[in-house]
């Protein structure tokens, strides 16, 4: 017999709208307004999953996100999503659901054999069994164990759906839209506050959704919602779970939009993650019903009493046979009366000896009763009741056993910032342990289970929140609906006698039973945190929402302490599982991170430029005129510069405007070398150190006028240098009259390099005197062409006669094109980053690769640059003995000795004959093929530096198991006298 059926009328489903879906490939039907779980129950219910460890048959137990049993894999292929509670999955046309953890099917599951070995599979089983015989044995066993455990699997394919993230702000956030939440939102909004009401369900109303459609309770709900919806300052967010509370009243909200059939091609997001800042928060998060602990309490057909009510009233799903309601408190009478009113056969078994007659009126009630077992493996068929002493009371045919062990307030969010919940003996609940000044809570989360009490508390909380923000509007009054209120008064009795020692589960998802808790106790895992980790209690995707209190109570009993003494585990975000995709939002694919482009990027794209990522930049690596790979092209581009003239984009360099009467003094302190007396119209190379004497950056700074300098930095360090200069001006020397401004984006730049560089510029700027007399080495000329400013600085990175030409960014491409056209008769061509970086290696100029934040001025061979008479940042620390030790590494050049081999960046260096072990005596920082020497050369840091000049050493590259021989030489491979710079 099927356990459940759809009633011919009633519920909040839309019977005019049939929805087709599949379960394990079989066609099924439900209605709009159903969840996957309610549709499956309407079709008969029964087994919808197998348990994690013992593969026991399981049915739907709840009607909310706390569901531990009815977990499904939804979708297939790239959209496959595992472990989704069927109780939260709205039924959508074409939904493809698969059961989990059963093979070949959940009805007949081979692994159910585990039930026979249940005695072996107790708490700590894995740790005890699979740790030997060798140290790494667990690695061997784990994949097989995971496969047998059979949790749902995610897809490895890219998710085609779109996710979005956004920021939002509100004055008052109300979490939860039950009676307390609706009242809070109304009171705050009527007073004039901006309110967001967030509800995880598809519909607003919370427990009022379990009132019959059209009833007084339902009408109250509808009126409240209509009023809120009409207020412009109110935002209602359904299908939105507040996942976490963080510092500064920041919250994470996950909104699900699958019901809208979002189309990623139209930019419609499947889920939206909102980072919300709320000035005030009212928690109206409600409570989650507790199961009872009794023999075989995991059988399909055993359900929480409030869930059974929700299935009846929301989804018109009812048991096909008699129902038994077993409770230790008043709240389950709401279910019993509703069943009775719906014409269903129902008996109540109450653990208490006496129950208020107002509750029991018209019902068949057994008091002082205990539930000692149920029959039916794949669906409950009967239940047995006993007296407290274990004596037989009664056997009842039942297709539904609706249980209530009381309620656990959903204190999770209130606890996320570190406030532990406190035990309240009167309600036998953990309640919020306290609140930040801007937080409040109301309704069931505060143990206010009676309807009128919840509404009144909610109204007050909402009004107070608005008043605290200065909203003095009149909130008026709000009367509770005139319906019977049940409350949840009861006795703290959760565990039923279990004379036959059958399995009685606490954590259904992770298959943790009362015996596992006893075993943890016996083996010394008595703290709740140890209990959790040893038994895996509360560690499933439901995070123990239905299990924690029952387990705590049992552990407290075993330890002979009170529940508050036993304590509770820590609540952490997220409240329910959150897909990583939702957190990533649109930061995937080409939007993964921003891309920085030079003003010449478009020209390069259109003219054979090939790009390489360099930090955020896409830099032009090489040009296809020179070859179709970087390895071949850069050599041709180097030859162009050494023999003729080339032009390279240097817009990537950091550029900083330094202005003010004290600018010379400032630069003099920042650079190791002197800048105070740099003449107007001259540029100078400079190195700056951190205050621990490690080289921070190098570059050139040009004095444009008495009080104005143009600084360039390396591309990589531009941001760091800028903030370093600002830091110094704001903290170390606030009295200096200097302002620094990043102008990296304002100016584009190009380096014109090669023996014919001057000729190229003379063709570009006809009539302008660019002779060495007019523009000597390290000189600057500023002039305008057609009103466009040009900054022409004669300096060289390549070691050839070279100039840097700067112009405002919007004009850079035109200048570049003009230069290429004007100097075309010379054969000028563009060259890229690879050639730029290789030319400087031949010259022995250090760059980012060699300035890796570990090296001092002396390490890079520039100690002689530092001013002897002046102070500068890093001077105090520069002369520490360790930094001056003769055997400390410093910059050397290397020449490869074996033709046909290669030098590789990152190679570890060893003296000849030394054992190739450990970190070696240095490493290669930069490598290139030298067109001048016709061999591979490198810059390296080597212990003792040039003391070893002329020695043969070994360069090891362990990744390729490669060693080559090299000779230590000067890092200046070409033109050591600098003749080429001064022509």
């Amino acid at each position: 017999m099927k356990g459940f059926k759809r009633l011919p009328s009633g519920g909040r489903i839309d019977r005019a709208k049939a929805i087709s879906f599949t379960l394990d490939g079989k066609a099924k039907q439900g209605f709009a307004g159903d969840t996957l779980a309610s549709a499956l129950l309407a079709g008969g219910g029964g087994v919808v999953g197998r348990s994690f460890k013992y593969h026991r048959p399981r049915g739907v137990m709840t009607a909310g996100p706390e569901e531990p049993n009815a977990l499904f894999t939804l979708g297939s292929g790239a959209t496959q999503e595992p472990n989704i509670p069927g109780t939260q999955a709205e039924l959508l046309e074409g939904l493809a659901a698969r059961t989990q953890n059963g093979w070949p099917s959940v009805g007949f599951d081979v692994m159910a054999i585990n039930q026979r070995f249940a005695k072996l599979l107790t708490a700590g089983f894995y740790y005890k069994t699979f740790m030997g015989p060798r140290k790494r044995s667990w690695m061997l066993y784990e994949p097989f164990i995971r496969k047998a455990a059979g949790l749902g699997e995610a897809s490895a394919d890219p998710d085609p759906a779109r996710y979005d993230t956004r920021r939002a702000f509100t004055e008052v956030l109300v979490v939860g839209s039950g009676p307390a939440g609706l009242a809070a939102a109304l009171a705050a909004a009527r007073a004039g506050a901006r309110v967001i009401l967030a509800e995880q369900d598809s519909d607003l109303g919370g427990s009022l959704l379990s009132e019959p459609v059209g009833s007084a309770g339902d009408a109250w709900r509808a009126t409240a919602i209509a009023e809120l919806a009409a207020l412009p300052q109110v935002t209602l967010m359904t299908r939105t779970t507040v996942q976490g509370l963080y510092d500064g009243n920041t919250l994470g909200l996950l909104e699900r939009r699958d019901h809208l059939s979002p189309d990623p091609a139209k930019g419609q997001a499947r889920q939206v993650f909102t980072t919300l800042t709320a000035q005030r928060i009212v928690f109206a998060t409600g409570a989650i019903e507790r199961p009872l602990v009794f023999a075989d309490n995991d059988r399909p057909g055993v359900m929480l009493a409030s869930s059974a009510l929700a299935y009846l009233q929301r989804y018109a799903v009812a048991p096909s046979g008699p129902a038994l309601v077993v409770t230790n408190n008043d709240s389950a009478y709401r279910t019993a009366h509703a069943f009775k009113a719906a014409g269903l056969q129902v008996v109540v078994a109450d653990t208490r000896a006496t129950v208020d007659a107002a509750l029991t009126a018209g019902l068949e009630v057994e008091t002082a009763a205990r539930l000692v077992g149920v029959s039916g493996a794949h669906g409950v068929t009967a239940a047995r009741l006993a007296r407290a002493d274990g004596s037989f009371l009664r056997a009842l045919p039942s297709t539904l056993v609706a249980v209530s062990g009381g309620w656990s307030p959903a204190v999770h969010l209130t606890s996320h910032t570190g406030i532990k919940p406190r035990w309240d003996a009167a309600t036998a609940c953990f309640l919020p342990g306290g609140f930040a000044a801007t937080h409040a809570a109301c309704g069931a989360v505060m143990g206010q289970f009676a309807l009128g009490q919840a509404i009144a508390a909610g109204f007050t909380a909402g009004r107070d929140a608005a008043a605290a923000l200065g909203h003095a509007g009149n909130s008026g009054a709000l009367a509770a609906p005139d319906i019977q209120s049940f409350g949840a008064a009861g006795e703290p009795l959760w565990r039923m006698p279990n004379p036959r020692h059958r399995k009685a589960f606490l954590d259904f998802q992770n298959d943790v039973s009362d015996k596992d808790v006893a075993q943890a106790f016996d083996e010394g895992y008595r703290s709740v945190e140890h209990l959790k980790r040893y038994t895996t209690l509360g560690m499933g995707t439901d995070q123990g929402k239905t299990s924690n209190i029952n387990a705590l109570a049992i552990m407290a009993g075993l330890r002979d302490v009170t529940i508050p003494e036993a304590g509770t585990t820590t609540f952490r975000p997220p409240y329910t599982p959150t897909a990583i995709g939702a957190l990533a939002g649109r930061a995937v694919g080409k939007h993964f991170r921003p891309i920085r482009r030079s003003p010449l990027h478009q020209w390069q794209e259109a003219n054979g430029g090939v790009f390489i990522e360099a930090g955020p930049w896409l830099r032009c690596w090489y040009y296809t005129w020179a070859g179709d790979s970087a390895a071949s092209a850069y050599i041709k581009e180097m030859e162009l510069v050494r023999r003729n003239v080339g032009v390279s984009d240097v817009s990537y360099l950091g550029k900083i405007d330094v202005q003010g009467p004290d600018a010379p003094e400032f630069l003099n302190r920042v650079y190791v070398n002197g800048f105070a007396k740099l003449p107007v119209g001259k540029a100078r190379y400079g190195v700056m150190l951190n205050d621990d004497a490690v080289a921070l950056d190098d570059g050139t700074t040009t004095r444009l006028s008495e009080n104005r300098f143009f600084m360039t930095t390396t591309t990589a360090q531009a941001g760091e240098v800028m903030s370093w200069l600002e830091f110094l001006l704001e903290t170390a020397w606030p009295e200096l009259r200097v302002q620094v401004t990043s102008i990296t984006d304002a100016w584009g730049g190009m380096a014109v390099s090669g023996p014919n560089a001057r000729k190229a510029l003379e063709l570009t700027f006809p009539g302008r005197d660019l002779s060495s007399a007019a523009l000597p080495y390290m000189g600057v000329l500023e002039f305008a062409v057609e009103g466009v400013p040009i900054r022409l600085i004669r300096l060289s990175f390549s070691g050839e006669l070279a100039y840097e030409v700067y112009t405002p960014a919007d004009y850079t491409q035109d200048l570049w094109e003009h230069l290429l056209a004007a100097a075309a008769p010379l054969g000028i061509k563009p060259y890229g980053l690879e050639a730029l970086a290789s030319l400087r290696i031949e010259k022995g100029h250090v760059a980012g690769l060699d300035l890796d934040h570990r090296n001092t001025l002396d390490d890079i061979g520039l100690g002689k640059m530092a001013g002897k008479e002046k102070d500068y940042i890093g001077r105090a620390m520069r002369f520490r003995p360790k930094l001056q030790a003769p055997e400390r590494w410093s910059l050397v050049g290397l020449e490869l000795l074996d033709a046909g081999q290669k030098l590789r960046g990152g190679s570890i260096l060893f003296p000849q004959g030394a054992e190739l072990k450990g970190h070696g005596h240095g490493w290669i920082t930069s490598v290139t093929w030298s067109i001048e020497l016709n061999k591979y050369i490198a810059l390296a840091l080597y212990d003792g530096g040039l003391k070893h000049a002329g020695e043969e050493i070994v360069c090891a590259y362990p990744l390729l198991n490669e060693t080559v021989r090299a000779k230590v030489v000067s890092p200046h491979f070409i033109d050591q006298e600098g003749k080429r710079l001064h022509v």
Binding site: D164, T165, R166, R167, A168, F169, R194, K266, G267, Q268, A269, T275, T277, R586, A587, K590, H591, R593, P594, I595, R596, R597, S598, P599, H601, Q602, P616, W617, D657, Q659, G660, P661, E706, N707, P734, E735, L736, R737, V738, Q739, T741, S742, I743, T744, D745, A746, W747, V785, E786, G787, V788, P808, A809, D810, Y811, Q813, D814, L815, H818
Partner: protein, 180 residues
Amino acid sequence: MFERRSALAGALHAGPGGPLTIGEVRGWTLWQVTAQPGAEAAMMSSLVAQVGALPDKVGLATQGNGRTLMLVGPAQYLLSGGPVTVSDAEGAVVELTHARTRLYVEGPDAAEVLSRGAPLDFHDSAFPLGAFAQTGIHHTPVLIYRVGAARYEIDALRTFALTLWHWLEDACLPFGFGVK
């Protein structure tokens, strides 16, 4: 020989159409003006003489003499509409016209689009007409200026402008947008 070329040249393709309009604002100029330590009062009176009343709070802008002044930090202004003269002793003036690319988004969901990237409250009570803020979108610094009831201008760094334009197009997609 020289024509100003936008960082977005060739990138502004027609959108799918819809209630939002996005595009680039061209033809403006921008300077940063900052007082030197100790010369704040002198520089500000010099500015008052040239522009008129100054904004007194970061996030506020004033207009005068064809210029807009935004207070972006202690005695630091962004100035558009035309240059000002400030002596070296008083302060530093740096032209940033070419350092920024100005995008705009206009339409009923403009604020929602921006909230997909910027951690700002765009509610009328917090970001009224005329308000601006320096903030970040997609890991890059931007300045957002509310120039109409439903129109916002976004000053992006020129080198990040194209990436931000692509971000903006994508952010507008679910709402529908045209490019103008």
